[in-house]
């Protein structure tokens, strides 16, 4: 049966353009249709936590705006002129040419055009991201691949303690800036030197540091694995693949201990930090105990409709630290079939010996049909996207939008990562519950 997609939860490979924009002063140049950019950033940007055009996104992004003539005759000359003028008009440090469906089907030799500029020493790469090749999780990987392959150079030596952080997909995850900042802070606290290319203060300088890292840290169930493998192959940098985005004391403790032992750090310092942060966390949880236990309408069971990273991490926190019960969970990031068994395995133990069934589907409509048919036996908690708000009304559920599209929230630098992040999440969930009937 055809895998239809109703209520989209991700966009196409060309959505990787947002990963370019996530690098400070980097800009994508699209060799694509006139509407591709607008549709994609509208969905994973503006209508996803209110992530607007920023420095040079949105309608600032150079694009060849494919016409019928381009489809018939090809458009490499037009692309060349667009790139040449982009260098003149736009004030940026790094350019990445991304192609759309038309160019990839017609077969424009984009590589040839871009190599011409690379030979002139211009900071530019390309990736053939025609939307029919998959979703933007894959598109993100394609962008990383092109940067690693075409731009990064070996470093003179390894910088001890430097760790490159690779985690959630920028923009697709509306909390991404907070996630990278909070992961950095955790690593810094235990004595490492984080290097993050995405977000404020990264940019080309951070890109240029990548090959000097002691190791790469991938915090993600599957997205980005190719990139760290490629970095190992190209620069001999080892990597730690940690599948769980740490939310709350249980998982954050595990995460810090795992990273520390991998990096050979002073474990006493790590334990002291964990103890201090747990004390802070439980100070507030203790204070809120009445709300958590004695509020009139409390959810007992929950479900999640999100990408694999958030479905897993949120579920682990709700089970391990908040005492809630999972129903079937929905992973909507198009996890490749050959990775599904491994990802499914992660959900077998969410804590306390409790596991959850997982349904992989990019079809949000299907997920909603299944949720509608679930017997929750109390008002359920649904962590999903803004598509779920209607369903929530039908089911008399509590809903918090956390996964693309999050069109009903404005998000800045917060994330749910770590100890403080977990407090933010508890605030958000219980504010939904408290405000529901008032």
């Amino acid at each position: 049966m055809t895998q239809i997609i109703d209520q989209i939860r991700h966009v196409c490979t060309l959505g990787g353009l947002q990963s370019v924009l996530a690098i400070e002063r980097a800009i994508p140049v699209l060799h694509a249709g006139p509407g591709c950019g607008q549709k994609l950033w509208g969905a994973v940007g503006l209508q996803n936590g209110g992530q607007g055009s920023g420095y040079a996104g949105g309608h600032t992004v150079p694009c060849t705006n494919t016409t019928e003539r381009d489809v018939v005759f090809g458009a490499v000359d037009k692309l060349e002129a667009t790139i040449e003028n982009a260098f003149k008009v736009i004030d940026a440090d790094f350019f990445a040419v991304l192609t759309g469906c038309a160019s990839d089907i017609v077969g424009d030799d984009v590589g040839d055009v871009v190599r011409g500029f690379q030979k002139q020493g211009k900071p530019i790469v390309y990736a053939e991201t025609g939307g029919f090749k998959g979703n933007n999780f894959i598109g993100h990987e394609m962008v990383l691949d092109s940067i690693i392959e075409q731009y990064l150079q070996p470093a003179p030596g390894v910088v001890p303690g430097q760790v490159n952080i690779w985690a959630v997909v920028p923009y697709q995850d509306p909390f991404w800036t907070g996630v990278y900042a909070d992961l950095s802070e955790l690593l810094r606290a235990i004595g490492l030197t984080p290097n993050v290319i995405f977000g404020q203060g990264g940019g080309v300088a951070a890109l240029n540091r990548v090959s000097a890292a002691q190791f790469n840290l991938l915090v993600s169930p599957w997205v980005g694995l190719k990139g760290v493998e490629q970095l190992e192959k190209k620069f001999g940098t080892p990597f730690l693949h940690y599948p769980v985005l740490p939310i709350g004391p249980t998982e954050t403790g595990k995460f810090l201990r795992a990273v520390a032992s991998y990096a050979g750090l002073d474990l006493a310092r790590v334990e002291a930090f964990i103890a201090q942060r747990e004390e802070h966390y439980y100070h507030y949880i203790e204070r809120a105990a009445e709300v958590l236990l004695e509020t009139r309408f409390l959810p007992r069971h929950f479900t999640i409709v999100a990408d694999s990273a958030y479905a897993l991490s949120l579920a682990k926190f709700l089970v391990s630290d908040l005492g809630l019960i999972p129903e079937r969970l929905y992973v909507v990031d198009g996890t490749p079939e050959d990775r599904q068994a491994e990802v499914r395995e992660y959900f077998k133990d969410l804590g306390e010996g409790i596991g959850a069934e997982v349904l992989f589907t990019p079809d949000g409509g299907e997920a909603q049909e299944k949720i509608r048919a679930t017997k929750f036996r109390s008002r359920p908690l649904i962590l999903g996207s803004s598509w779920e708000r209607v369903l929530t009304k039908e089911l008399n559920a509590f809903v918090l939008s956390v996964s693309m599209p999050v069109s009903d929230r404005l998000l800045f630098d917060r994330s749910y990562v770590g100890y403080t992040g977990a407090l933010r999440l508890v605030e958000d969930i219980y504010s939904v519950i408290l405000s529901d009937f008032q």
Binding site: G35, A56, P62, D91, K133
Partner: protein, 490 residues
């Protein structure tokens, strides 16, 4: 005059049908004269462009917002990305009108690499069946995409094969992004789908007037005004039902809040079913509203009632208007909008006493389907032929450069992603999100007050501008704003 052929399943894009252009710089007088004389406004290409928008978004936004229909997008998943913004828009419209709280339905066939080689007809068929099973819609529209267009998918055959199986209209809408630089071609694709596949010949005349608009925020005011003229508005297409649309051929007239949006449907209904289309400038501000209402009044033979409404309303707002004009005296504006809104709002700003320094429009239709230059353009050319104008498919680099040179008090715009750049330059800006923002007598007062408010406190713009850097090189900002526009014919 072009003839609209509703038997065919596809409508030609605006470049071919209306002589639409996306590259021009000059004066409103020149633009108008060349369009009117038939000597043609030669389109000027650019050697540098930024991402604009495509027909597919406009088309899906219209069709997807018909409350009991659904849209199948025959495309890779990214082409359905606009479903998210359309859903937000849809819900805001539903809230405005107090309608059911629900999500709109735009479903992707999710074309992949294999389909680009072997075709996706089976996928389309299967998606239609699954979607029908899931939602039981009253009609299904299938929107094309760049991929379906390039690989030559035969959408119509798939629909023909399913005709007996599904007892609802199955209608294609051809809105491939690469076919037109004018995203408004997508409106035509949507309205053509409606004319071709939904609208039935009239059984009789009703007292309805088709009102082509977007979310319909001024619904109550319009219902009450139309009541005085003995007619009832039917708001199209957003939030209308398939059955309502089927009957629009029975209406007494068609009007539109936007010439760009409504002219195809209006002319199609006029040509095929004799429903007259009101072709005046749109009802924004005072002159626009008066000409529009008088024209409608003549059609409905309610001239006297119309004059009564105009006289009493004009007198009612006179003191407020006077006050606004005093406050706005000496203020300057730049306009950046679609062509109908742009030329209409330039007139409205002038009515308020604001000096419009420049009117940029996102495209320009030389002649609408009834064979005339848009009335809003004609009127503007009559009163101020020297007004500088430009046409560009929302090329921000030109707009930023222009604003940097003209430094108006305010930038008045429509379409997302433009107003922010004025703000970042310390210039007050106002993006018109509501199509009724300056509707008639009430509208112009509200609109004027918004402008006054925007000019009164510019702290956000001023402070933001002090702290951010524009993404353009010093070199570019020093160039002529339109220096990357090629000569005609190149």
């Amino acid at each position: 005059m072009g003839t609209i052929n509703i038997k065919q399943n596809e409508v030609p894009v605006r470049e071919f049908r209306l002589g639409a252009v996306t590259g021009y710089v000059g004066t409103i007088g020149d633009l108008h004269d060349r369009a009117a004389d038939g000597c043609d406004v030669g389109n000027r290409e650019r050697c540098f462009t930024q991402a604009s928008a495509c027909s597919s978004g406009c088309c899906q936004g219209q069709l997807g917002s018909i409350s009991d229909a659904l849209v199948i997008n025959h495309a890779p998943v990214g082409c359905a990305a606009d479903a998210v913004a359309s859903n937000v828009n849809y819900k805001s419209g539903a809230r405005l009108r107090g309608l059911d709280y629900k999500n709109l339905r735009i479903i992707s066939t999710n074309l992949d690499e294999r389909d680009t080689v072997f075709g996706g007809a089976e996928k389309l068929r299967d998606t239609i069946l699954q979607a029908n099973e899931r939602y039981h819609p009253k009609a299904i529209f299938v929107t094309a995409s760049c991929v379906s267009g390039i690989i030559g998918e035969d959408i119509q055959s798939v629909l023909n094969d399913l005709k007996d199986e599904l007892d609802i209209p199955l209608v294609p809408a051809f809105c491939e992004g690469f076919k037109s630089k004018v995203w408004a071609s997508g409106f035509d694709a949507a309205f053509h789908a409606v004319l071709h596949g939904i609208v039935a010949p009239p059984r009789f005349k009703t007292n309805k007037v088709n009102f082509v608009n977007f979310r319909g925020s001024a619904r109550k005011e319009i219902i009450s005004t139309f009541e005085k003229l003995g007619v009832e508005p039917v708001f199209l297409l957003q939030h209308s039902t398939v059955e309502e649309i089927r009957r629009i051929s029975e209406a007494r007239a068609t009007v539109s809040i936007c010439g760009t949006l409504g002219s195809y449907l209006g002319n199609g209904l006029e040509q095929h079913y004799g429903v007259p289309y009101v072709r005046t400038e749109q009802p924004h501000g005072i002159t626009g509203y008066k000409n529009w209402l008088r024209s409608l009044g003549t059609l409905l033979e309610s001239e006297e009632e119309v004059e009564k409404i105009i006289a009493s309303e004009e007198a009612r707002i006179a003191p407020d208007l006077e006050e606004l004009r005093a406050k706005l005296k000496g203020k300057t504006a730049v306009v950046g909008m679609g062509p109908s809104f742009g030329h209409n709002y330039t007139r409205v700003l002038r009515e308020l006493g604001v000096e419009v320094l420049w009117a940029a429009t996102w495209h320009f239709d030389q002649k609408y389907d009834h064979g005339e230059v848009p009335e809003s353009t004609k009127r503007l050319a009559e009163v101020d032929g020297d007004l500088p104008v430009s046409v560009g498919d929302q090329q921000n680099y030109e707009i930023v450069n222009l604003l940097n040179k003209l430094k108006p008090d305010i930038y008045v715009t429509r379409h997302g992603g433009s107003s922010v750049w004025a703000t970042k330059m310390g210039i007050a800006s106002y993006m018109i999100t509501d199509e009724y923002a300056a509707f008639g007598f009430n509208g112009i007062i509200n609109f004027g007050n918004v402008i006054v408010d925007k000019l009164t406190n510019r702290s956000l713009a001023r402070k933001l501008a002090e702290r951010i850097k524009l993404p353009y090189s010093e070199w570019w900002l020093a160039q002529d704003s339109f220096s990357l526009l090629n000569a005609e014919g190149f």
